[in-house]
Structures are given as structure tokens and as C-alpha cells.
Amino acid sequence: MSGLSRRQVLAGSAGALTIGMFGIAPAHAANNAEDLIKAFTGGKSTTEGKVKLDLPEIAENGNTVPMTVSVDSPMSDASYVSDVLVVGDGNPNGGMVTFHFTPASGVAEANTRIRLAQTQNIIAVAKMNDGTFFTASKQVKVTIGGCGG
């Protein structure tokens, strides 16, 4: 459930870079998603929880998939979410979007629409102002060919 195992990364690494937006892909492709998370957290460990990822189970059109990220936080000057990184492990590039919140945001919630090249795991990592990290992930199945089902 939580991110990629080392084995999956190794298995997918060979073919991943050549996969285009509409290519047929292995179940788990490796891209730079793990590296991006490492760079974001500075190597610190992340805890599951607090973060909520709202995505459809099945996306028939991978070109525009609505995604909402919300983080449970009082968003006060003393305790707030500063940044949220969202990555996917099945796109040519892992990075998707990074949200930067401030206490003036009031609520740590944002929505945008993303492109998904294939079925993949979406991982959100939230950075709190006290330097702790929380994470959530969700798999989205992408129907290529647009015939539903």
C-alpha cells in the first residue's frame, strides 16, 4: 500500500523511461517519484495519516483526473502545514504538483486536475511547520482506450 517497495523499483526501472503518455506499461513503472520524496523530506521518515487524498478509483480519461488533497491541521501560527508534495509512480516524471500553504490559508486543502499516463499510485507527503512529515497514497486505475469498463 504505502509507496513502492525496493523490489518494484528494480523491476520497473529498465523500461520506465521509454514509456510515453499512451504507451503500454508494466504494472509498476519506476520513475523519480521516490527520489522526489527523499529530496522533499530530507531523508526523514514519514508517518501515515492526517493527509487525505481524494481521487477517483477508476479514471476513464487519464488526461484530466480531479485530485483533492487535504491535511488535518489547525492552520494556526503555532501549528500549520507548510508544503504538500504530490507524486505519481507511473508517469514519465514523478512530480505532479506541490502546494505551499501558510497559516493564512485557513484550511490545508487544495484541488487541481492531473494527468495520469497509466494506472499508478499517487502519493502525497505533507510537511508540518514543526518538521514532521505525514503521508497518504492511493491507487488510481486508468482506462486506456476510453471504452469505459
Binding site: 503518455m21 483533492t68 504538483v97 493564512a104 490559508s105 487544495a110 487541481t112 486536475r113
Partner: protein
């Protein structure tokens, strides 16, 4: 060309009490070229996306987002902020070529 685009911005309320949470929805027309696609001659089409979005309220930044090519064409963004001061709500998108798209609304806080 990008600078001529007029973003569509909606605040869920334009008059608020201090401390109210305001929801902002914004949509801007942009191709968001990923840099992955190839044209008919097999040449890679260079990347051209809006890579940065910021929102300031009464001159103070409340929200920022960094977009990667994985953000869909005609990017949509929805977020919230806490109303504290009356003033302009300025939304700015920055293109890879350095140009910006700016949209503005006004909020009145009583």
C-alpha cells in the same frame, strides 16, 4: 499570447466576516505542453507549462502551488484562505517563458 488570456476566478463570497474561510476556484486556458509529446516529424515538442501559481490577499501571500507537466491542460486550481483584511485577491500564473497571467478579485471583510 499567454498574457492576453483572461483567467476565470470565482470566490464563494466576496463579502466576509473576519475569520471566515473563503474558497477560491480558478481556471485558466493554457496548453500545458508536457515536453513528452512528438510532432509529425518525430521532433519532441518543447515543454511549455505554467509552472508556478501564487495567490496574495491584500498584499500577503496565502497560497502557492508549483505545477509539473502532470497538471492537466487548462489548469484548474481550488483552495481556501482565511479572510482577515479587505483588499485585492491577486492570482498569478507564471509561464515557462517568463510571462505571467494575472487575475484579480476583491474581497471586503467586515
Amino acid at each position: 499570447m499567454a498574457t492576453a488570456v483572461k483567467p476565470r476566478i470565482k470566490l464563494d463570497k466576496k463579502e466576509a466576516k473576519k475569520g471566515d474561510i473563503i474558497e477560491v476556484k480558478a481556471l485558466v486556458a493554457h496548453i500545458m505542453e508536457t515536453g513528452q509529446r512528438k510532432d509529425a516529424q518525430g521532433q519532441t515538442i518543447p515543454r511549455k507549462i505554467l509552472h508556478k501559481f501564487t495567490c496574495t490577499v491584500a498584499g500577503k501571500q496565502v497560497f502557492q502551488a508549483d505545477f509539473e507537466p502532470a497538471v492537466s491542460a487548462n489548469p484548474y486550481i481550488q483552495f481556501k484562505f482565511r479572510a482577515t483584511d479587505s483588499g485585492p485577491v491577486v492570482l498569478t500564473w507564471t509561464d515557462d517563458d517568463g510571462s505571467t497571467i494575472v487575475g484579480e478579485e476583491t474581497i471586503t471583510v467586515s
